[in-house]
Symmetry: C2
Subunit: 186 residues, 2 copies
DNA sequence: ATTCGGACGGACCGATCGGTCTGTTATCGT
DNA sequence: ACGATAACAGACCGATCGGTCCGTCCGAAT
């Protein structure tokens, strides 16, 4: 009959939101700014994403997918589970420059209300991450996989700290890999 | 002649701002909310603090002072520089429950613009922290104090991660102390 | 008792927030 | 060519943002 809805509009909007949320944080970015950046009508954005919260969740889903890529890359780059954990730390550190850290963790800080869907989504994702790390740790010769997970997460979370990200992420990233190597071989 | 300005009003306002900023983040808290909480007139707040940015800086100064207390406590609680570093990690971990992490680091994430006075203040403070850690590390028998500082900071920053703070800060705090102990005695 | 000035509440400012709705333009299928 | 519909722009909504300003009230010094 008539004009068909373009399937890539949703992606274009999400691209713009992703960039702005990553750079400035969720609360600091208004919907109009996203609309300007995406060069779309306000109607279109609210058709694709019913509310800002929904858009934020979509942004976080993409962030979670990026983490999956990191995880897969680390698994592929090393043979043993120990080396894979170290490689994961290396991948995280290598991904820091030019970013503001981890969108999921940064956004979690902006939504302290544990009942908020955005908060719940992030915690859920991070628990999944912990689960996958645990699976990996359980396949290492360590006597206490939980402890190994705690330590690796401590390092990764430390790398994602705003302080680390902004001041000298280079040194921290290198040191994190060395520390991770010692931890997994202990 | 007339009524004298009460010297504790400034503290009362700062108390309210401190509590709200700590709990919800800077961007999420409006001035009116602080005024309501402090039960003061809007005039008074803007006489004591010329703008929201100034109030935020005052809030961060108090956060910096709290860090100084933590540092002093760690120095007093142990004899050797190695043990003092471990103690510092322990103090940080012990201070986590019931908080949203570190106000300075959380606020840094909210002010990504490196030219903004709030951003600059935080980076300046954190560099001072690094300096004091370096002084401490230099008095340990380690061959590479810089590396030791990087590792301790990685742990502390990891503890202050929103993820650590919200999900299971107990395990992380205990593990951080153990890891710090291994690091300083390596 | 009068008066001076600080504390307070709130009206008010322009701008922006998230969100809704309408009108115009452009592109498609028939 | 025509008509249907998606995409776009923007007016508009109430609420809130940071910030200014004014009027009232009250406490203390004279």
């Amino acid at each position: 009959m008539a004009r068909r809805p373009s399937p890539q509009t949703r992606e274009r909007i999400l691209d713009a939101a992703n960039d702005l949320f990553d750079r400035y944080g969720v609360h600091a970015v208004g919907m109009q700014r996203i609309i300007d950046e995406a060069a779309c009508g306000k109607n279109l954005l609210y058709r694709e994403f019913g509310s800002k919260d929904e858009l934020v969740v979509a942004y976080l889903e993409r962030g979670g997918a990026e983490w999956d890529v990191k995880f897969a890359r680390a698994l592929a780059a090393a043979a043993t589970p120990q080396e894979q954990l170290v490689e994961l730390v290396r991948v995280v550190g290598a991904g820091l420059p030019g970013t503001r850290g981890c969108g999921l963790r940064n956004t979690l800080a902006e939504y302290p209300d544990p009942d908020h869907p955005v908060h719940r989504f992030i915690v859920e994702h991070l628990e999944k991450v912990r689960g996958r790390l645990h699976d990996l740790a359980a396949r290492t010769p360590t006597a206490d996989p939980d402890r190994l997970v705690d330590r690796i997460l401590l390092i990764i979370n430390g790398l994602y700290s705003p302080y680390t990200v902004i001041a000298g992420e280079g040194r921290a990233a290198a040191e994190a890999v060395l520390l991770a190597r010692e931890i997994v071989s202990a």
